[in-house]
Amino acid sequence: MKKVFVGMSGGVDSSLTAALLVEQGYEVTGVYMKNWTQDLPGMRCPWADDLADAKRVAVQLGIDFRVFDFENEYRDKVVQYMIDEYKSGHTPNPDIMCNQEVKFKLFLETALEQGADMIATGHYAQTNNGKLLLALDGNKDQTYFLYRVEQSALEKTLFPLGEFTKPQVRTMAKERGLATASKKDSQGICFVGQIGIREFLGQYVQTKPGKIIDLSSKNVVGKHDGAIFYTLGQRHGLNVGGGLPYYVVGKDMEKNEVYVSTNLNTESLWQENITLQSTHWINEEPREGQTYALRIRHRAPLVNCTYSQGMLQLEESQRAITPGQSTVLYDGKICLGGGIVV
């Protein structure tokens, strides 16, 4: 019987993942990865409740349960990366880093050391012979977050939810009476919800107020409390009143200035090529001149493009391609990998 260690977060997805693997006859061990336990101002970190829920489900399924303490590694590899990226003016994605460094490296290695043959998580994705494939539920597909995972890791990974939709997962969890069947989905990124990012950064980075400048009129149209908090293409959260909505079209970290425009068609927001750095190709590098599809953020529609000399030529220009964020490339259902937008 194959031994599988399942990452159990205390949510419905990973709970059902464990349940399905038990039903499929695997010898399952549930593992809670203790990555982050710190409360932030106005935000209680629910780790202890989540751990209890994960264990409650493990007990319900009659499987072994362990806690892997990755707090130090998580701080070094994910949190520090996030802070550094923000400082340099980027909007990083900690989920991608967490998958690369923690879930599909550290967790995998630790699980294998402790006797596992494979690992499993509740991600919406599919694997086949070391290939990463889109989930059946296009709306939930999480391959965007997984493009930096190694082929060797995928060869030892199961994604049992890849063939189900989220509503199906809820129903199946309820049918099995899992304690987490009706639990609310955790929102936003790994450890800080979207609302928590300011509070999080506030703990680590000194921010100061600066100007918001309309790029077309060059007028100062408002004040911000730190350029670090603004992302290209962002509309919400600008303290600029009245008239048409403003969009962030650029920023200068040195001057601590944020540039905005009311013109959705402003050139700085729309681009036709993407140059990538820090690329990671799961199986092999894309072929020159070949047509693929890409996605510039999680759940963004797939857009056709041509791969040429490390550059991606888009069929149609795209709005708010943001430096520092990941672009992920697909060949049909196969996720090839991707890189960081320059």
């Binding site: 202890a48 751990l51 264990k55 409650r56 007990v59 319900q60 009659g62 072994d64 349960f65 806690v67």
Partner: protein, 385 residues
């Protein structure tokens, strides 16, 4: 699916009696007045409040104006230690509230015996000429051991006499955290020989967030919360009238039935213990076999994971604790079990079962059956692996 619930965690929280709720209810609406206001209906509330405090204090042999109403035992404990400038003696098995408050001062924590008893000899050895407060719990919240407070009081009296003869002026007072035990054992200030006593309404069938600190005449503390002079200026803020009404009623009901309730709980607890012991010969019972709260049973199933058992039992409607609730939530081993020398395999596989008003003979028999089944199932699971 409705499961019949079996509650075996009376040391964590206790349900309020209808009579307690009735005593509180008017003070939320018809008798809502601020007891400090000058007009007649408010003065009436003041009188009723003072009377309730007097009746409350009377349940343990004190006077109404000797007690300070607080928002629970944690606050009472902090208040009791607020005036300390010197050394404090306490024990290693106190509640976290005491350990944290004591930690702010120069202190010595006395180790318990392996049965969980703090001996008067150990206290005597820990007292220094600079010791200002000795604080020892009445009964332990995890293993239920009842401490020999009377004998410890004798030690303290001896030290006081020595200081008087030597012309030393450092005061020495004896505080007890009596949060656990009221209504199960005798709690009377004269018989205990203490100078300060903490009670927690929420653990004795009263409302939560109400507690008291009794101070013997001449014992001084520094208020933690400053304001309008309520509670003799020692605990400022508008009086929690409804809370005190409930606390007072609960204390009176509990005190009246202490003996019969103790006998009833002891029999139920002993039956539960014996039934489990028959099934699990290597089960470890912690605490003193006799000097133990009648409703308290701390058992360990070596090799098992207590938290898994809690979740198994929860799914069968049986609500129990592992060690103490606080310790369990933090994912750390209980300092109490460590102090009495319980091994990790035992500590990790332990359950705290605390009986109380909701425990009937039928319920405890049912609990014994379900606990046996689930413990057996868990042993089988790890045996098969």
């Amino acid at each position: 699916m409705s499961l019949k619930q079996i509650y075996l965690d009376h040391a964590a929280a206790t349900p309020m009696d209808e009579r307690v709720l009735d005593a509180m209810r008017p003070y939320f609406d018809t008798h809502f007045y601020n007891p400090s206001s000058p007009y007649a209906p408010a003065v009436q509330v003041r009188h009723e409040y003072e009377e309730a405090k007097a009746l409350l204090a009377g349940t343990f042999g004190a006077k109404g104006d000797e007690i300070v109403i607080t928002a629970g035992a944690t606050e009472s404990i902090n208040l009791a230690l607020s005036g300390v400038t010197g050394h404090v003696v306490s024990s290693a098995i106190e509640h976290h509230a005491v350990l944290a408050a004591v930690g702010r001062h120069e202190h010595t924590l006395v180790a318990p015996t392996e049965k969980g008893i703090i001996t008067p000899e150990a206290i005597a050895a820990a007292i220094t000429p600079n010791t200002e407060i000795v604080t020892i719990q009445l009964a332990n919240n995890e293993i239920g051991t009842i401490q020999p407070l009377r004998d410890i009081a004798t030690i303290i009296e001896t030290e006081r006499n020595r200081r008087a003869e030597a012309g030393e002026s450092t005061p020495l007072h004896f505080h007890t955290d009596a949060s656990q035990g009221f209504g199960q054992i005798d709690v009377h200030i004269a018989r205990l020989g203490v100078d300060m006593l903490t009670l927690n309404s929420g653990k004795m069938y009263g409302p939560k967030q109400v507690g008291l600190l009794w101070l013997k005449a001449g014992v001084s503390v520094l208020p933690l919360i400053l304001g309008g002079g309520q509670e003799r200026g020692l605990r400022n803020g508008t009086e929690n009238v409804a809370g005190v009404m409930g606390f007072s009623k609960a204390a009176q009901l509990a005190e009246k039935h202490t003996k019969s309730e103790a006998n009833r709980l002891r029999e139920l607890r002993d039956n539960l213990q014996i039934t489990l012991q028959k099934t699990f010969s290597d089960m470890v019972v912690s605490g003193h076999p006799k000097k133990r709260l009648p409703g308290s049973l701390h058992v360990a199933f070596p090799g098992l994971d207590g938290e898994r058992l809690v979740f198994r039992l929860e799914s069968r409607g049986v609500l129990v604790a592992t060690g103490s609730a606080c310790a369990a939530n933090k994912g750390t081993r209980s300092h109490v079990l460590k102090s009495i020398g319980l091994g990790n395999a035992e500590a990790d596989g332990s359950l705290r079962l605390t009986l109380g008003k909701l425990s009937t003979k039928e319920i405890i028999q049912e609990a014994a059956r379900i606990i046996s089944e689930e413990v057996q199932a868990e042993y089988k699971r790890i045996g098969d692996a």
